[in-house]
Amino acid sequence: MRFMVIVKSTPEAEKEGALPDPQLLLEMGKYNEELSKAGVLLALDGLHPSSKGARVKFSGKSRTVVDGPFTEAKELIAGFSILQVKSLEEAIEWVKRGPNCSPGGDYEVEIRQIFEMEDFAPVLSEEQIQHKVAKRAALPNQTANK
């Protein structure tokens, strides 16, 4: 299953032309390499400050554009990654290992599951699965180890 790891912003990250501390970049790089080596990191991107962005507000048939910057840094998104892991707990474990992107500062990382095809697929009952297992076990190529 896949999770989007949403890194929330901080007032520093929202500053125009803000560049991360080189030491921090190094640590982040090492961490991301670890995720890659473990085969769990599918994608990763950082976002410019909200001053370079816009919002489109939907209301019935009308669309209103609001240009950035936006206030409430902790509600904004500074970056995201997509992890492919076995469970929410595994995603949490990986996220906890990451460096603090805002030394001394507080911010949040939100972990959300991405919809997959299986979420819509019908699921067999335990009985049907057992039936399939029994049928499969009876196939000749399953006895190769005997």
């Binding site: 080596k37 599918l42 595994e90």
Partner: protein, 431 residues
């Protein structure tokens, strides 16, 4: 459930930690104990200890180090007990103890050459001395961190059978004294191809899952991809590893489009390409580029990946670069001569150069004994004959294909096409 039951929540966390750390822990322990079976047993014992202790004590800050330290302590105890009977255990126990005293930070001791150990573990789990199905089970168990029950459900096989396979595999590795090492020289290519075969087998097992199967089955694709991606980082200079990863990424990109909502298969050309996962396609294309950077000849996995990439790049079936696919199939057929590949090449040729050119190649396969009962041969031939306007012949071939296929939906489709041959009175080229 987890919110109201802290005990259950800790178990889920321990499972996650196990998933992340088990391969590295087992790999490190195998180097120390020189016995992969024993290493896994010790790691499992450490896991059991964690399941007993962590719900009360809380999850330690460095869970991998905790698991390794616990497993090592058990190893020392075990070797001490066995030392009376055999000298080699005494030596091992002393070595382990010395290691523990000189380096209090157990994790870093194990972590340093960890990628080497991990790669050794990959090679030993996929050792050609083991039957293929045992290699797959052992790989999922040792490197994927799956339980025997999960492997059994994924392969639709009774748990006792999988457990037996794993026990026998470990015993074989011990009895034959298979060394814990990365093969070198000419042996490397053969051993690597065994590893790739196992990973692709796991992937295909997941890919062949159908609607309603146990959900462990489709996740085999993710397990295989994860193993492939790990291997690609461990052996970045091996083009076939990147080739296999690319092939799997691109095939996985079609997961959403390849079956209907009721679970019926959809052919490549009928798939809604908007449903293809562009992220996985991008990853697949990147993996192909990495393979090209190693600057060696193309192997079978890379060639198949490049064929898959031709389809992935085409926004519509008509945009497919068929001449390139012909070249790739020709190269593939030279590497692994196979009538099935020849048949695929014939289809590509027909798309690139017209049905007549394709039919000549298909006709050359008519006497191939291994294709005698292969429904796709008459099915492809029928399609080409139909395109050439030779409808009565096409009808016979469609019917022959329908009689050979075991898939009822496919049979219906073939019979419908057979019937359409008769219904069409125009027959432009019939004389």
């Amino acid at each position: 459930m987890s919110a109201t039951d802290p005990h259950h929540a800790t178990h889920r966390t321990i499972e996650a930690v196990w998933r992340i750390e088990s391969a590295r822990v087992i790999a490190g322990l195998t180097r120390l104990t020189r016995d992969v079976g024993l290493a896994e047993d010790l790691a499992q014992e450490a896991l059991v200890a964690a399941l007993e202790q962590w719900p009360q004590s809380g999850v330690p800050d460095n869970p991998a180090a905790w698991l390794t330290a616990t497993a090592k302590r058990r190893a020392i105890d075990l070797f001490r007990r066995n030392a009376v009977a055999e000298r080699k255990y005494e030596v091992l126990a002393r070595e382990l103890e010395a290691l523990e005293q000189t380096s209090p930070d157990l994790d870093s001791t194990l972590d340093n050459p960890i990628s080497d150990d991990l790669l050794r573990l990959v090679f030993i789990a996929c050792h050609p001395i083991l039957p293929t199905e045992s290699r797959a089970a052992l790989t999922l168990r040792l490197l994927g961190g799956l339980t025997t029950d999960e492997i059994a459900r994924a392969f639709l096989t009774p748990e006792s059978t999988i457990a037996q396979r794993i026990v026998r595999a470990k015993r074989t590795l011990a009895d034959k004294r298979i060394p814990f090492e990365v093969p070198r020289g000419p042996e490397l290519a053969a051993r690597l191809s065994s590893v790739l075969e196992v990973i692709y087998l796991i992937f295909n097992e997941g890919y062949s899952a159908t609607a309603g199967d146990d959900l462990m089955r489709p996740t085999l694709c993710e397990d295989a991809l994860r193993l492939g991606r790990i291997l690609a980082e461990l052996t970045p200079a091996e083009p076939e590893v990147h080739g296999l990863v690319a092939l799997m990424e691109i095939q996985a990109s079609r997961t959403r489009a390849r079956v209907t909502s009721t679970g019926e298969p959809v052919l490549l050309f009928d798939q809604n390409r908007a449903q293809w996962d562009q992220l996985l396609i991008h990853r697949g294309l990147t993996a192909i580029e990495r393979a090209h950077k190693t600057n060696t000849t193309r192997g079978p996995y890379l060639l198949q990946a490049e064929i898959a990439a031709c389809h992935a790049r085409a926004r519509t079936p008509s945009e497919t670069d068929w001449p390139r696919i012909v070249i790739l199939y020709t190269e593939l057929a030279q590497l692994i001569p196979s009538p099935v590949i020849e048949l695929n090449r014939a289809v590509a040729v027909s798309m690139a150069h017209g049905p007549h050119a394709g039919l000549t190649l298909v006709d050359a396969l008519a006497s191939e004994p291994s294709l005698a009962r292969y429904h796709l041969l008459p099915s492809v031939r029928a399609d080409l004959l139909y395109k050439l306007g030779r409808h009565p012949e096409a009808r016979t071939e469609f019917e022959r294909a329908a009689a050979l296929t075991r898939n009822t939906r496919e049979r219906d489709l073939l019979l419908t096409r057979a019937a359409s041959c008769e219904a069409d009175p125009t027959n432009p080229q019939e004389k």
